[in-house]
């Protein structure tokens, strides 16, 4: 049932992930090779020709989070360098109907560039059509509406290396438990491209690369606030778990709480994205062994630069990828800076001193 569910989820997406021996390459909707985000830069001449033109931009996000804040910061800084004003910022709260409303509302402000994360290929296909009709330059984050063509409909897809994030999480957990043992897999039980890809990459990496590690428990989660009870049940049925993968940092807080309540200091946790509670636990040598993050600020910068290149009628690569980053206790300070372009919280810096 679960396998079927995930196959269905994957079928909805337009991206293809290669299944080669290394299975480390993320490729675009039509098999395009990934261009590294570092290759997307604006020259001084580009910046000069963008300034004082009165260009406007809109940021239409799927939710609000630390990750989104960092992406926004990267985009705003890049837009500011070109004198482009961000006139609208929205949060669809994972609601497809609200995302459509947000797009319509934002278009009233006549933005020249829109950076957005389409919630789902099917529901967003109709939603972005008006933006195309208005000749707005579209740059998508991590997902693309079904049937859209790069060049005529949108400038580019910019994404974190989702497969690498899941794979690096598997590698980090495997390393922390010595390459053998029993692990639990807590995945996002919803059709959401980003988490689905990362979760499945973790699972397939464990299954293919680590024959001595068995996934003995798996549970889906849709409401992060229920993570503690879910993890408690998992630990009750499998008290000898060596490690647990948690789909992202917020539910990992609940898993951590369940381990603490059970007095369990042995089971390792690996999760995705940076957040202070799990970061602090890792810094103090607790259950959390690694956090795998994307370079969120770099994603935002790249999206803005791609949109601006499109405004200048320059060719843009169809599929751009920002690298993944494994953050451990030893690299937490530098990793935080690299991912979010700001210092780690003081509590974490104090803990690793």
């Amino acid at each position: 049932m679960l396998v079927k569910r995930f196959l269905n989820a994957t079928a909805l997406t337009c991206f293809l992930l290669s299944a080669s021996a290394s299975f480390a390459q993320t490729v675009g909707p039509s098999g395009e090779a990934a261009t590294p985000s570092s290759a997307i830069t604006l020259s001084d001449a580009d910046l000069a020709s963008l300034k004082d033109k009165g260009y406007k931009a809109a940021l239409l996000w799927h939710t609000s989070s630390d990750f989104v804040n960092a992406v926004s910061a990267g985009a705003k800084d890049e837009f500011a360098r070109a004198g482009v004003k961000v006139v609208v910022t929205t949060d669809a709260g994972f609601d497809a109907a609200r995302q459509r409303s947000d797009i319509e509302t934002a278009l009233a402000a006549k933005p020249d560039v829109v950076l957005a994360l389409p919630l789902d290929p099917v529901t967003s296909a109709e939603a972005f059509k008006q933006a195309i009709a208005d000749h707005t330059k579209l740059v998508f984050l991590s997902n693309v509406p079904a049937g859209y063509k790069q060049g005529s409909d949108y400038a580019a897809i910019v994404t974190d290396d989702l497969f690498q994030m899941g794979k690096q999480a598997a590698d980090a957990l495997a390393k922390s438990i010595g390459g053998k043992g029993k692990v639990g897999w807590i995945f996002h039980d919803a059709t959401y491209y980003v988490t689905n890809q990362r979760d499945n990459a973790f699972k397939s990496t464990i299954e293919k690369d680590y024959p001595d590690i068995k996934i003995v428990a798996q549970k889906g989660i849709s409401d992060p606030s229920r993570a503690e009870e879910l993890a408690s049940a998992m630990l009750l049925q499998n008290p000898d778990l060596d490690g647990i993968y948690v789909t992202w940092a917020e539910p990992a807080d609940g898993v951590l709480a369940a381990l603490r309540a059970a007095g369990n200091t042995k089971t390792k946790i690996v999760t995705l994205d940076l957040a202070e509670p799990v970061g602090l636990d890792m810094a103090k040598g607790g259950n959390v062994t690694a956090l795998v993050a994307d370079k969120a600020y770099e994603l935002g910068r790249t999206m803005a630069a791609t949109g601006l290149k499109s405004l200048l009628n320059q060719a843009t690569p169809p599929f751009i990828v920002a690298p993944a980053l494994t953050v451990t206790k030893e690299t937490i300070a530098s990793g935080w800076k690299e991912s979010l372009n700001r210092d780690a919280p003081q509590s974490i810096l104090d803990a690793v001193k």
Partner: protein
């Protein structure tokens, strides 16, 4: 909380007090006007006043308005329906699946029947098993949210039938979007039933004092059953409108609408504990919510600031509105 009908204000009160009370009856309309004027001035160069943007507000709020009509009846009868968001998702998905398999008629029937049946379940449990509507609909909200998720294994279902999408969300008639026709039609029928029929009077009487209503010959259980079924059908209509507008159905549709609908209805002058309400007020409340979202986005506020300002304005509107009712 006492419910004061302005017509029953003691004759000894001063004329100025009467004038003030009447003015406060229209607080939702004045509030709407004030917010509109504020955005019209502040956002005069940001596209707020364009026909396209104002039309967007009406189109975006159509499903909420339709749900709000049902909730006015439910609240006026002294009950509540927390399951409307889940009904939206189940109905949209049931309609989309049936339509893709058996055509447009089956799709519409499946969508509306889903809402009718869930409303029937809610109504029977509240009216005849005598369980509190808050708890019943809280339970069915979770129950049918789960049903919506499992119905299509979390998949989004594309809606490609152009007749359906035209009729329910994306088309126009005489140059006017179909969503506007749905809104106007539902408001007119809702208002007439609420204000000018015996059923509407019985709903209000039931919410005002159900024992007195029962003694005077009104079948209180039948009223409760009917309003919850109406709410179910109207929520399912909202689900079909979402499916037509997005040309797709997903289990998350309607998930975040409950609080918006409740706010629209309360701001629009309907009492939470029954006996008084307004269909036109609910329409204005719904448009006010849509206009707030629209204007705050166009002002360029950060998402957090939008939430704070929206919360403060709703709080102010509800405070003024409830203050009037408690006089």
């Amino acid at each position: 909380m006492s419910k004061t009908n302005p017509s029953l204000v003691p004759s000894g009160r001063s004329l100025s007090l009467l004038g003030k009370a009447n003015l406060q009856q229209y607080v939702v309309y004045l509030g709407f006007l004030a917010i509109f004027l504020f955005f019209a001035i502040v956002l005069r160069d940001s596209g707020f006043l364009t026909v396209r943007n104002l039309s967007n507000i009406v189109l975006q709020t159509a499903p909420v308005t339709i749900m709000a009509i049902g909730l006015v009846f439910v609240l006026s009868a002294g009950e509540i329906d927390l399951s409307i968001g889940s009904i939206v998702a189940v109905s949209a998905l049931a309609g989309a699946v049936a339509m893709n398999g058996y055509g447009i008629t089956a799709g519409i029937a499946a969508g509306l029947c889903a809402g009718l049946l869930i409303g029937l379940v809610n109504g029977v449990l509240v009216a005849y098993v005598r369980l509190p509507s808050f708890l019943v609909t809280l339970a069915t909200m979770g129950l049918f949210a789960g049903v919506a998720r499992s119905l299509t294994d979390l998949r989004s279902i594309p809606v490609t039938n152009s007749a359906f999408t035209g009729f329910f969300g994306s088309g126009t008639l005489l140059g006017i979007p179909s969503l506007v026709w749905w809104t106007v039609g539902a408001i007119c029928i809702g208002h007439i039933v609420y204000r000018h029929t015996r059923f509407g009077a019985h709903v209000l009487a039931t919410g005002d004092n159900n024992r007195a209503a029962s003694v005077s010959g009104i079948s209180v259980p039948r009223i409760r059953l009917t309003v919850l079924m109406m709410s179910g059908v109207l929520a399912s209509l909202a689900g079909l409108l979402y499916a037509g507008r997005l040309q797709a159905a997903k289990y998350t549709l309607g998930e975040t609408d409950l609080m918006t609908v409740i706010a629209a209805v309360i701001v629009g002058g309907t009492l939470l504990n029954g006996g008084k309400g307004s269909i036109i007020g609910a329409l204005v409340g719904s448009l006010m919510m849509g206009m707030l979202n629209n204007g705050l986005i166009l002002m360029g506020l950060s998402v957090s600031d939008q939430m704070i300002v929206r919360g403060l304005i709703i709080l102010a509107a509800v405070a003024v509105s409830l203050r009037e009712k408690s006089r």
